[in-house]
């Protein structure tokens, strides 16, 4: 049984993808905030206080790693779990970098939408326990 009303922040520079992902998450009963500008992430997190952040690692202005690092270094945002979404990086290869930035999980594009939900539930469920 899914907890309805969980707030998810999705960050990606591809707006179409963002739109479809948002639609998919809303269909699954989540409350979604979307950000396409990596620079606006920290501010948005402070305002919306999401339960989980889905973060693209490769973005034009700032990389996802940098965003994750900024979130980690800020007291208000450091506790929000981050799930990375990437087409190139894999957790295996960048385990140190991901650990360093506080990234808990990594989804490899093009992922199955059900996997996203599974990951979110996995993290939020653990947090609740």
């Amino acid at each position: 049984m899914r907890m309805v009303g969980r707030k998810i922040l999705i960050v990606d520079d591809d707006k179409e993808f963002l739109k479809e992902l948002r639609e998919m998450l809303i269909l699954s009963g989540y409350e979604v905030t979307e950000v396409s500008d990596a620079k606006a992430v920290v501010r948005t997190v402070r305002i919306t206080k999401p339960d989980v952040i889905l973060l693209d690692l490769r973005m034009p202005s700032i990389s996802g790693f940098e965003v994750a690092d900024k979130l980690k270094s800020c007291f208000e945002t450091s506790n929000v779990p981050v799930i990375a979404m990437t087409g190139y990086y894999t957790l295996k290869e960048h385990v140190w970098l991901m650990n360093f930035c506080g990234i808990k999980r990594c989804l490899k594009k093009p992922f199955n939408p059900l996997d996203v939900i599974a990951e979110i539930e996995n993290i939020v469920g653990k947090k609740n326990e």
């Binding site: 179409e16 693209d56 087409g87 093009p110 992922f111 939408p113």
Partner: protein, 512 residues
């Protein structure tokens, strides 16, 4: 005094003035050595004669000078030129011209003009010195020097060194011609050089000097043309270059070795450059692969999510098959990206002992399953299993075999053909030859088939053989692809039996 006397006296004054200016002394002396006249310049230096005899006045002697010019001149009645030194003036040399004459009374007198020749004497002395010096230079020179008549080529002089080196005496040399100084085989060439030197066209000729006892000495002859009293001579300085030649030989040998080393280094550099270029190409490819992977995977992710959303929103069985198709194609695209990444991130082999025969059998079986509807006769001539165990990465080798076999199968347009696999052991290498009679590779494509992204097929992105080649290179092996006769393709794999650590190779090439 009469007018005439006045005139004579003025004339004398003028003469005395002129003589004084030109530094010529003049005096008149009679046969009894009395000084009849003396010019003022003498008087200024020697004082008034006051009845002194000439030998007393000029030379400070008590007796007539030995070889007195006055006595001789008066005896012969001829002009006499002699040289004297003035003792009173620190042996200043003078030239005395003694002119006998008869005065109006019929008495024989002599007039003497005295010219200072100290400067001439000094010059003569210097000349003699320098002549001696040059004579010494010539005689004591460390090089053999010969002087020959330019026209007759007869030798006219030689120095000490020339005599020592050749063993000839001076008389012998003087009876010889320049031709006789050189061995017969090179005399023509040397004499041509002689001619050129006389004409002043060239300065140095390399030749040999033939000694009295028939030895040959390597010499370089530098020449100078001398013109003495209308005759032309050639002065040849013969320098022994035996040692020089020896050094030259050593030097040229060293040079050769050096050149070889340099050439080897250049070759190494070239190889390194090639490898570097390849690496650059690969890193470029790696970057490309990473970019393509990310750029394609994000839209693929969007497509996948969109399809999910469509499926969720309209539960219509009519679109199910279409949704499935899209899902499948997205998965296929993802597979292509995976291959691309696999190629760009090919890792160093994980070495294990591999039985190549077994690996080939396994791959052939797998391919037969995959191409079930093909009728292909596979002929295998493999080595005994104990002779085909090598150190390699089994997974990477499998990838190579699969790629080559798949290519062979795909080359059978009519779905039937022959494929032979042969193994040979070649010293520290294993050779595996795959030969098919499929459609073959066009001549112009042979050199490109191993390039990444080269393909003539409708499917795939042309990485198969590029991956194969890279895997073999990682194993320090080789992949060769050629055309078979009358048709088909031959693929030759050369693999080292043992793992070759990179460091060892470097050391070997250094020892070379």
């Amino acid at each position: 005094m009469s007018d005439k006397g006045m005139n004579a006296s003025r004339l004398l004054k003028r003469l005395e003035y002129l003589l004084g200016k030109s530094k010529i002394g003049i005096d008149i002396i009679d046969s009894r050595f009395n000084i009849r006249y003396i010019d003022p310049a003498w008087k200024r230096i020697y004082g008034e004669p006051a009845g002194q005899k000439c030998y007393r006045y000029f030379m400070g002697r008590k007796k007539v000078c030995p070889n007195c010019g006055i006595v001789n001149a008066l005896k012969t009645k001829k002009i006499l030129v002699s040289e004297e030194t003035l003792i009173k003036e620190g042996n200043r040399p003078i030239q005395v011209t003694t002119i006998p004459f008869k005065d109006e009374n019929g008495e024989w007198l002599v007039a003497e003009t005295n010219v200072d020749i100290s400067k001439i004497k000094a010059t003569e002395e210097k000349l003699r010195e320098s002549e001696q010096k040059y004579k010494l230079l010539f005689e004591e020179s460390n090089d053999a020097i010969f002087i020959a008549d330019a026209r007759t080529r007869r030798l006219v002089d030689c120095n000490k060194k020339a005599r020592i080196v050749t063993g000839y005496s001076k008389d012998e040399v003087l009876s010889m011609r320049a031709d006789q100084l050189h061995p017969k085989d090179i005399v023509r060439k040397t004499m041509k050089g002689f001619k050129d030197q006389v004409r002043g066209n060239i300065k140095i000729v390399d030749s040999q000097l033939l000694t009295r006892d028939g030895r040959k000495i390597d010499v370089s002859i530098s020449a100078a043309v001398l013109n003495i009293q209308g005759k032309t001579y050639l002065l040849g300085v013969f320098r022994d270059i035996t040692e020089h030649k020896k050094y030259e030989e050593i030097l040229s040998r060293d040079n050769k070795v050096l050149e070889e080393i340099v050439a080897e280094r250049s070759r190494e550099l070239l190889r390194t450059q090639e490898e570097l270029d390849k690496a650059k190409h690969l890193s470029g490819l790696g970057l490309l692969a990473a970019t393509v992977a990310h750029e394609l995977r994000t839209p693929l992710a969007a497509i996948r999510t969109a399809v999910y959303n469509i499926d969720k929103k309209c539960k219509d069985p009519a679109i199910d098959s279409h949704v499935n198709s899209i899902e499948n194609k997205v998965a296929e695209s993802d597979q292509i990206i995976k291959n691309l990444l696999a190629y760009s991130r090919l890792k160093p082999p994980h070495y294990q002992t591999v039985n190549v025969c077994e690996l080939i059998e396994e791959c052939v079986a797998g391919l037969k399953d995959m191409f079930g509807d093909y009728n292909v006769l596979v002929y295998k001539k493999l080595l005994r299993s104990d002779r085909c165990c090598i150190e390699a990465d089994p997974l990477q080798l499998k990838e190579v075999f699969n790629n080559i076999l798949r290519n062979a199968y795909e080359s059978f347009a009519s779905k039937k053909g022959k494929l032979s696999i042969m193994m040979q052991s070649r010293g520290s290498y294993l050779k595996i030859i795959f030969r098919d009679n499929g459609c073959g590779i066009a001549k112009e494509h042979i050199s490109k088939v191993c390039e990444p992204f080269f393909t003539t097929k409708s499917k795939g992105i042309g990485l198969g053989l590029a991956i194969c080649r890279q895997i073999l290179e990682l194993h320090k092996g080789r992949l060769e692809i050629g055309r078979a006769r009358p048709k088909g393709t031959i693929v030759t794999m050369i693999l080292p039996l043992k793992w070759v650590p990179a460091v060892q190779i470097v050391e070997k090439s250094r020892i070379k």
